[in-house]
Symmetry: C2
Subunit: 211 residues, 2 copies
């Protein structure tokens, strides 16, 4: 089925989880995968919204952009916009934890250890999948440093996704990377050293086959 006229929602980039007004927990996501997905969906005639953390990759001007900073902000903006979308792709590298009690003022340097308690952040793409409308397609990413396929397949199941893209840490911030697409039912497709544009095209090919 064609993407033409469909609404595609993409989450992209890292989130920042603040300890105080200056310091935060984050990761090296550049937002390039999200930008490539937005370009590919526009090219296929979809209308595109991107909910994005602070990322360096420029997004296409024809995409509607919603800028957020924290995982909780991304959850709220994504759930609000997921209702009207035919396809939701969680390409953001959302922090799995946030700081339990962020300080209002910059924490003063001291010579003693600092103990931080981190609380689990909600799983955004799982929350989207749990509320899915009939026919809506929900796609996730799994970044794994070890036992990539096993972990990714388990995530796809527990989160109730239609498709998951498993990749390694070299994907973060780089131009080319290798990835495995895993469909519900266990079908796998291996992509070796592809650009993010090529990976985005393969993801939408798979979605068009599903839809």
């Amino acid at each position: 089925v064609s993407l033409k006229g469909k609404r595609v929602l993409v989450t992209s980039g890292p989130t920042r989880e603040y300890l105080d007004p200056i310091r935060f927990l984050s990761n090296a996501s550049s937002g390039r995968m999200g930008a490539a997905l937005a370009r590919a969906a526009l090219k296929r005639g979809a209308s595109v919204t991107v909910v994005t953390g602070p990322a360096e990759a420029p997004l296409p001007s024809r995409a509607k952009t919603v800028a957020i900073r924290t995982g909780l902000e991304m959850l709220r903006e994504t759930l609000r916009r997921a209702r009207g979308a035919s396809i939701v792709i969680g390409a953001a590298a959302v922090s799995d934890w946030r700081v339990a009690s962020p300080a209002k003022k910059k924490i003063k340097r001291s010579s003693s250890d600092l103990r931080l308690t981190l609380k689990p952040n909600p799983d955004i793409i799982k929350s989207v999948a749990r509320r899915r409308r009939p026919g809506q397609i929900v796609v996730g990413f799994a970044l794994e440093t070890h036992d990539r396929l096993t972990h990714a397949a388990a995530k796809m199941k527990s989160k109730g996704l239609d498709l998951i893209v498993a990749n390694g840490p070299s994907a973060l911030g780089s131009d080319r990377s290798s990835a495995t697409l895993i469909l519900r039912g266990g079908w796998k497709r291996e992509l070796v050293s592809v650009s993010k544009d090529e990976l985005a095209a393969a993801i939408f090919d798979a979605i068009e086959d599903l839809a």
Copy 2:
């Protein structure tokens, strides 16, 4: 005294303190202040080395660049190069803490809290000042959210600096900002809504008066 032919060493950008191979503690430093300092020193005829964390602002090609990621890496590279420098300026937003026991594999998401112990990172510019050669000038920055001048003046004293630049959180990642230069002896100069190039020029004016 002129900067011509002098060696200037600048630290720039944020550092990343890893929890595991993917996640880190950092801040929004863009490296723009360090880049402005490098441009200004080159313009005045100095030779310039920049020890820089992962920052978005491009550095001038005539500056020698040393790329690091963590605070400990920045300490090592800065101390090694400080010996030969007439002027050392610590413009980096070095994390005051690092993770005590980083994980070798990506920490699995879980439904329980994560407790992190952070250890104090060494104070790089203080370490440089402690080892200073006669005539060497050491300059620091103080980013404060509250009681800016009091905290900055105390830092200048305890770290043994010649000059400190006090600014607020709006300086991080922005083009224009306000700052106060404080010289040893308590002389202050207020700069309101200046560009980073203007601030860099004012800092080297002050250094040329000192030297």
